[in-house]
């Protein structure tokens, strides 16, 4: 669906994408997470056909996306920094897009009026940031895209509107098989909507799996060991202790970790599923990410 191999993009001396690989299946909601400067927005711009890579390949529906109007016609891209024509109202932008995107649905536009209660005739530049985001979603959803590329999409939206917009997007995913690639720092939100997650760092993909795989492969083990003997044959990503209680972040499925813990006959142990935020932090901690000390 969206597939990038060894994608490289360099801005002067800064390597924004460094042999970046990604594979996004059709119909999935893919969350792209990573620290600032990881290359998320740069990749989204490649996927939208805005940037041309220095080397490597990126394909959407098996075709190059750069300079490919046929593919671009199927993509709705909502960047972090929105653009509307100066003085343009939602009606103006609608009229513009309906003549550009062949799938633009006026019927849907009318239906969504009830969701996005915005003044269609007012200049968009006079809207608040959140209202502008709403306008962007309104127009993007009317394009009936097969792919939605969302860069920090819900920044500035109130919780109710966030929920409504995600609901609209997810209904598109379930009804039409729309593929959504979303980059965000809001891991809590991604956890709720994504079925796949990729963690980026310094232009590379650190980890790319389905959310269930990720969450099933990393667990938090709280253990009070006998004679300070920790379980053997497990990969410990992080270790901390409070009194006799040790907290281990362990890579492995809960069953295997549980067996390993039982094997050392601890005084007490408990397996706790990790949040996406914790996984993100521990994975990045493994590559010397600077926040390591802050969170501990």
């Amino acid at each position: 669906m969206i597939k990038a191999e060894k994608l490289v993009k360099q801005f002067d001396k800064f390597r924004a994408l460094d042999e970046f690989n990604i594979n996004i299946p059709q119909g999935c909601v893919y969350g792209l997470v990573g620290p600032n400067g990881a290359g998320k927005s740069t990749f989204l711009r490649h996927a939208a056909g805005v940037y041309k890579q220095d080397s490597g390949t990126i394909e959407v529906f098996g075709e190059k996306v750069f300079e490919n109007p046929k593919i671009k016609n199927k993509i709705a891209y909502i960047p972090d920094d929105l653009f509307f024509f100066l003085q343009a109202s939602i009606l103006d932008m609608r009229n513009f897009y309906r003549n550009i995107y062949t799938n633009f649905s006026m019927e849907r536009y009318e239906k969504l009026k009830d969701v996005f209660r915005l003044d269609e005739k007012a200049p968009i530049r006079k809207f608040s940031k959140g209202m502008q985001k709403q306008a962007a979603f309104w127009l993007a959803l009317c394009m009936r895209p097969e792919i939605m590329l969302l860069d920090e999409p819900v920044d500035g939206l109130d919780p109710v509107m966030r929920r409504q917009i995600w609901s609209l997007i997810l209904s598109d995913v379930s009804e039409n098989g729309t593929t959504v690639l979303v980059s965000s720092h809001n891991l809590r939100e991604l956890e709720d909507v994504c079925d796949h997650v990729g963690i980026m760092h310094k232009g590379k993909m650190l980890l790319e799996r389905s959310l269930s795989d990720i969450q099933g492969n990393t667990v938090k083990l709280q253990i009070v060991p006998k004679d300070d003997v920790l379980p053997q044959n497990i990969t410990i990503l992080h270790e901390s202790s409070t009194g006799r209680m040790k907290t281990l972040i362990v890579r492995g499925n809960p069953h295997d970790v549980s067996e390993a813990a039982n094997a050392v006959d601890p005084v007490y142990y408990e397996l706790i599923p990790l949040t996406l935020e914790e996984i993100f932090i521990y994975e990045l901690g493994g590559v010397d990410y600077a926040v390591n000390e802050i969170i501990l």
């Binding site: 939208a48 671009k72 003549n99 550009i100």
Partner: protein, 630 residues
């Protein structure tokens, strides 16, 4: 326009046109109002239809040329403004439209309203003229075509400038540079060459002015006055319009390679970054360097006259290197958007310094052989040379060879001539004198080689002087210079002459007053204690009947010339009569709107027997300078 494969997107075109309507509507408004007033003023201040059209052409073209240049820049900037911010560049680039479609739709949206505005304004012009009773439809059509072709060129150039940069503020600078760079650089190089190269000519004509289009069009495109009213320079207009189209095509090629991440970059096209850096370095070295030098030294005239000394070279070199430093690192800062550019960037600057040093040393030591260069006889098509402002054109091989030899001799005597020039004082009142010698070789390949020298005429140079004045005073050369006398082109003839006064006391009382007036040229006739200037004017027919045949006879027999060197030979005071015959010749140059008046003057001498007879028959008394004042 719902096709995703088209190279033109109507929706984008319409959107761009409507977004920037204030720009082209201001253009339309000003042009229409201006044309209305142009027509109205033309009618009020004229006596016949034809004259009205002259004025109409002239005003519309002059106004339109400058106006077109400004508004084409503005519309190109606005229609391509989406490329200059990351937000808009991303928004446009992700649209399902090919690059060609983006380019053509936005570019056409810039220029089409301008051309339609021209059409509307010219209709206004025609209707206004019709209202005042003048049929100006054809004139309006010509003006529309000319103005629209100007638009095509100016817009093409502006679009090209837009593609080179990612920063909107830079576009006007690039546009101005492209329009005037060539003439400015050429002028500065000529000034620099004048410092070092003996004979380097600072002629006002520019070899590379065609690379400065606005300058070239302003100088080459004119309107014709009566009776064949119209616009000249169509070849220039059409050629530049074609260049405009080529620039548009080039812009499209650059745009296809453009990377959207270059939005806000000073140079948007990576291969041009070094070009920008080195052009700015050398441009600053030349402009700022010369400016710094003029502030520090202020001895341009001295250097031109006597050649520059070592301290001049060192001072100028330092000034140019400081200016190049400013240009080079300013370019680095602009390219990298950072002030921290002084690490690891010195190699390029050292190269710039080396080139400047080579340029200065090359000129000073004439490493390029410019100073000693005299074209081969076989390559020369014609030569024109000028002494004391008298210009003579030569085409025969023998005379050309003679001039080449004289020119070579002048070059060989450079050091002695300059040394003599330094020591010479006008007050010395010797037989020696200075003269300016300018020579232009027109080579068979069309190239022109210009040189000019200030020469101290004594000893060795006396021979050169005799050669040059001999050629100037040859009958065929005089005839070539005074050709209008042999046709019907003269307008009138003035004769000024001086006679002694019998009663000097009569003039003495007015002498002080008269001298003062004469100084300020308020009186055509001078009154001095012992002499009195007189004046006679002949109509063209009178001159043709009573005077011109006699002058032609003397020219044919080598007895009179339109050139005399008053400084060159004090003995001439006993040969030349204190009398000046001036013919006024109206000349209309091909590309010019106005008539220019050329004067042909003769001073009769004791040898110009036929002319003297004719003058005497007109009642003119002839006295030599010696007879009057010595």
């Amino acid at each position: 326009m719902r096709s995703t494969k088209s190279y033109f997107n109507l929706q984008l075109f319409k959107k761009t046109v409507t977004r920037y309507w204030p720009i082209w509507s201001v253009y339309l408004f000003i042009l229409s109002i201006a044309n209305y007033f142009i027509v109205r003023e033309s009618v009020y201040y004229s006596y016949a239809d034809v004259v009205e059209l002259d004025s109409l052409y002239s005003s519309t073209i002059t106004f339109g040329l400058i106006f077109s240049a400004i508004f084409c820049l503005a519309t190109a900037m606005f229609s391509h403004s989406w490329m200059y911010t990351a937000r808009s560049a991303s928004a446009y680039a992700c649209l399902p439209i090919k690059r060609e479609g983006l380019f053509l739709s936005t570019s056409l949206a810039g220029v089409v309203p301008l051309i339609l505005s021209n059409l509307f304004a010219m209709i206004v012009m025609s209707l206004t003229a019709l209202y005042f009773g003048v049929n100006a439809f054809y004139a309006a059509l010509l003006c529309f075509l000319a103005l629209s072709l100007f638009n095509v060129f100016s817009y093409g150039l502006a679009t090209f400038c837009c593609e080179l940069t990612g920063n909107a503020f830079v576009v006007p600078f690039i546009y101005a540079i492209f329009n005037f760079l060539a003439v400015v650089v050429e002028a500065l190089l000529k000034v620099l060459a004048g410092f070092f190269i003996y004979g380097a000519s600072f002629s006002s004509s520019f070899y590379f002015s065609f690379l400065s289009p606005i300058y070239e069009m302003i100088t080459k495109v004119h309107t014709i006055r009566t009776p064949e009213s119209g616009i000249t320079g169509w070849s220039y207009i059409i050629a530049y319009a074609v260049v405009g189209l080529i620039l548009c095509a080039l812009s499209l090629l650059i745009f296809k390679k453009r990377r959207m991440e270059t939005a806000s970059d000073i140079v948007a096209f990576n291969p041009l970054k070094p070009v920008f850096k080195y052009c700015l370095s050398f441009g600053c070295a030349l402009t700022l360097g010369m400016l710094f030098y003029s502030i520090i030294a202020n001895d341009f005239d001295y250097n031109y006259a006597y050649g520059c000394e070592l301290k001049t070279i060192i001072t100028l070199g330092i000034c140019m290197i400081i200016a190049a430093f400013i240009g080079y690192f300013a370019a680095e800062m602009l390219i990298h958007k950072s002030f921290k550019v002084f690490k690891n960037k010195w190699k390029g600057f050292i190269c710039v310094c080396a080139v400047i040093a080579l340029l200065i040393a090359g000129m000073y030591f004439d490493l390029f052989g410019i100073e000693k260069y005299v074209p081969d006889t076989d390559d020369i098509g014609s030569v024109s040379f000028s002494v004391f402002g008298c210009t003579t054109e030569i085409e025969d091989a023998d005379t050309i060879e003679l001039l080449r030899e004289t020119h070579s001799a002048i070059i060989a005597d450079k050091d002695r001539n300059r040394s003599l020039l330094k020591d010479w004082r006008y007050e010395d009142e010797t037989e020696e004198f200075l003269y300016d010698f300018r020579i232009t070789y027109v080579l068979d390949n069309g190239r022109r080689v210009n040189r000019e020298y200030t020469i101290f005429a004594s000893d060795f140079h006396e021979a050169n002087w005799q050669t040059l004045s001999g050629i100037i005073n040859r009958a065929d050369c005089i005839k070539a210079r005074t050709a209008p006398l042999f046709t019907d082109d003269i307008e009138y003839c003035n004769i000024y002459y001086t006679v002694p006064v019998a009663d000097s006391s009569a003039n003495e009382k007015d002498a002080d007053f008269a001298e003062e007036d004469a100084e300020y040229e308020r009186l055509p006739i001078d009154k001095y204690p012992d002499t009195e200037g007189k004046y006679i004017e002949l109509t063209a027919s009178e001159a043709k009947e009573a005077l011109i045949p006699a002058i032609i006879d003397d020219i044919n027999h080598g007895r009179i010339s339109d050139f005399h060197n008053y400084y060159g030979s004090r003995s001439l005071s006993r040969e030349i009569y204190e009398c000046s015959i001036n013919f006024s010749i109206p000349i209309k140059r091909d590309n010019s709107e106005y008539f220019y008046y050329n004067n042909i003057s003769f001073n009769p001498t004791v040898n110009s027997t036929s002319t003297n007879e004719a003058l005497k028959s007109l009642g003119i008394e002839l006295y030599t300078v010696a007879e009057l004042y010595e």
